[in-house]
């Protein structure tokens, strides 16, 4: 067998440790391994980005990086290359954590037995290959299921459409009078058509959840609007059962960071459920308030005076396909996917969902959503590249060819808010889309990063946005222009006010520059 030598990247700053490892490699067949030795994380990242490395031997205490972040950065630079961490005897706990972060294995310095090194390397590569293969198969399977369900639900919707059309034609007396009994039966058909329709929608939604394709577009969202919408949507259903549906908002309510259509969806599922399980003349109430424990979260509560849930069931009801066991209570209600979807939607938006109840005493479903803060939005995007020396600013703004840019006044207002957040969080910010006219475009300004950092972040943001189906739907195009803002620094003597003023002016200047370069390019 004539194999190519395995390309091993050793990242180790301790000369003694490196020499020992080199010696171990020198005992192997000369054409079996090729060793590249680097001493810094920054060098390793560049080397990995060029490709060609089969496995990384990584010391977790480097001059420019330490601990688990060494693993994170290696995997971020080359996700397909397995990492084996090198640790000291006292660091075994850390090594275990490194494996949770995605390292394939760990070797304890000074404890590497004769010939154990090549075996560990080959095992790591092989395990990694199997893992990748399994992931790929899983992805294919999910994709198939996704396509299948999407196809099936599409095909189911067509005949359902015809049924719905003609039933409503009859109900609306477009084909002549109905006697009361006929009308009642038609209403029953209609109710079931609607149930079938919502089941089809649930099916599609669950496919998306499992394929990780649930499109969520976080933005600054009004809770009051969502509550009004959901209550209006279900007012008819509540009235039909003689249930009083009301809402209660302790104002002023802060905006939350959520997808407005998703929060409406969550509320509709919860209110719809409450109506189902509440007998005639009962009460369903929607309330919103800030939590006492954590001012960063807003709580939405949907409470009912219905049959309640036994305490041991308050966890299980969020499981997929869970249905209430007592048919007298539940009747035929759906696929048992509503609360599961709800939970996914809420957790994906950074919130929590809980149920409190006692049998016969009604149920309270409470959902928390993070209060809107610019910094919290961008944090996940920056997770792996978060080791920035200076804050990172990300501006989303709107370029409508007809509508023009936002006015200077509006722009500087947003930019100031952005900078303020930026400085407080030390991480970065994301501005919500503004307005609705024209095509939205993303424009990034990355401060205090070198070229590589800025590019990596931009790529990452693009990738995230590409994953959102709704990006295209919203008519959003992503541009990868970025500018380094290394120049903006606050002098020790400078007041915060004056610094913000200066920084805002610089950013505004860069945006203007960007616009004129685009106009020139189009001319």
């Amino acid at each position: 067998m004539n194999e190519k030598p395995l390309q091993v990247l050793l990242v180790e700053d301790n000369a003694g440790d490196a020499r020992l490892l080199r010696e171990m490699f020198s005992k192997e067949r000369p054409d079996s391994f090729e060793l590249t030795h680097l001493t810094r994380m920054s060098e390793a990242v560049i080397h990995l980005a060029h490709g060609g490395v089969d496995v990384v031997l990584l010391d977790m205490g480097l001059p420019d990086e330490h601990g688990l972040d060494t693993v994170r950065r290696s995997l971020a630079a080359a996700p397909g290359v397995p990492v084996i961490v090198l640790t000291g005897l006292e660091d075994e706990l850390l090594a275990a954590q490194a494996m949770k972060e995605g390292a394939q294995d760990y070797l304890i310095k000074g404890q590497i037995e004769n010939r154990a090194l090549p075996r560990a390397l080959r095992h790591a590569i092989e395990r990694h290959r199997l893992q990748t293969e399994a992931d790929l198969i899983r992805t294919h399977q999910l994709q198939f299921k996704d396509e299948f369900l999407s196809h099936v639900s599409h095909e189911l919707r067509s005949p359902l459409t015809a049924i719905y059309q003609f039933v409503t034609i009859l109900v609306d007396r477009l084909a002549g009078e109905l006697n009361p009994e006929q009308h009642e039966y038609m209403e029953i058909i209609l109710r079931n058509v609607k149930q079938l329709q919502s089941m089809i929608n649930d099916l599609l939604e669950v496919t998306r959840v499992q394929a990780g394709k649930l499109a969520i577009e976080l933005q600054c969202t009004s809770v009051a609007d969502a509550i009004v919408y959901a209550v209006n949507t279900l007012a008819g259903a509540a009235a039909a059962k003689g249930i009083t549906l009301s809402s209660e908002m302790v104002r002023p309510l802060p905006s939350i960071c959520a997808d407005p259509t998703r929060i409406r969806q969550v509320l509709i599922i919860l209110i719809d459920n409450a109506i189902k399980f509440t007998p005639a003349n009962g009460v369903v109430k929607v309330a919103a308030r800030l939590t006492a424990e954590d001012p960063n979260f807003l709580v939405l509560e949907v409470s009912d005076s219905g049959c309640g849930i036994s305490p041991e069931m308050t966890e299980r009801i969020f499981e997929r396909l869970f249905q209430v066991a007592d048919p007298a209570l539940a009747g035929r209600k759906g696929l048992g996917l509503g609360l599961y979807i709800c939970k996914e939607l809420v957790t994906r938006q950074g919130g929590q969902i809980r149920a409190r109840s006692a049998p016969g005493a009604g149920a309270v479903f409470s959902v928390t959503f993070p209060v809107f803060s610019l910094a919290s939005l961008i944090a996940p995007v920056l997770r792996t590249e978060s080791r920035m020396e200076s804050p990172v600013a990300l501006v989303i703004t709107q370029i409508g060819s007809q509508t023009g840019w936002l006015s200077d006044a509006e722009n500087s207002h947003w930019i100031r808010a952005l900078l303020q957040q930026c400085l407080h969080s030390d991480q970065g910010v994301l501005l919500p889309k503004m307005g609705s006219a024209g095509a939205a475009e993303l424009f990034f300004i990355l401060a205090g990063t070198d070229g590589i950092g800025a590019e990596a972040i931009t790529r990452r943001i693009r990738k995230r946005l590409d994953g959102y189906e709704s990006t295209e739907q919203a008519g959003l195009t992503v541009s990868t222009s970025y500018r380094s803002l290394k120049g903006i620094k606050r002098n020790a003597s400078e007041s915060m006010e004056s610094f913000l003023e200066k920084a805002a002016a610089t950013i505004q200047g860069l945006i203007n520059e960007e616009i004129s370069s685009r106009i020139l390019a189009n001319a």
Partner: protein, 138 residues
């Protein structure tokens, strides 16, 4: 005033029929097309004021229909409402981009469909029913 004319492009005969009954009851004249090709022919023949377009059509889907209509000046001005069983999340944005006035998911709520048609035709909305919801006190 003569009735406004609506061309219904859908390959499902029952859906076409149901749509026709509903639109006739609301004083619109309807015509049918069953695929991309006949949509063009029928649109030329009847000069409709509005087109209701399905996306899943045999031999060239609704997007192709919109693309073709857009390049022919006298057809390009006809407002199009897409009514499809395809998933809204994946198709709504694309349909609007392709020039549709609205995207409605099948089965379409009757009131919503009529409202969107009226809006696309620039017709006044009928007097609204007033519903009062209790939204709690400030």
């Amino acid at each position: 005033m003569p009735n406004k004319k609506i061309l219904i492009v859908d390959d499902d005969p029952d859906v076409r029929h149901g749509m026709q009954v509903r639109l006739k009851a609301n004083h619109y004249d309807t015509f049918f097309a069953v695929d991309a090709l006949s949509s063009m022919v029928e649109a030329r023949k009847h000069e409709p004021d509005l087109i209701i377009l399905d996306l899943g059509l045999p031999a060239g889907d609704g997007f192709i229909v919109m693309e073709r209509f857009r390049i022919i000046p006298d057809l390009a001005v006809i407002p199009i409402i897409v009514v499809s069983a395809r998933d809204a999340r994946a198709n709504k944005g694309r349909a609007i981009k392709a020039g549709a006035k609205a995207f409605l998911q099948k089965p379409v709520d009757t009131a919503e469909l009529l409202a969107v048609i009226r809006q696309a035709l620039g017709e006044p909305a009928p007097p609204e029913k007033h519903v009062v919801y209790d939204l709690g006190s400030e």
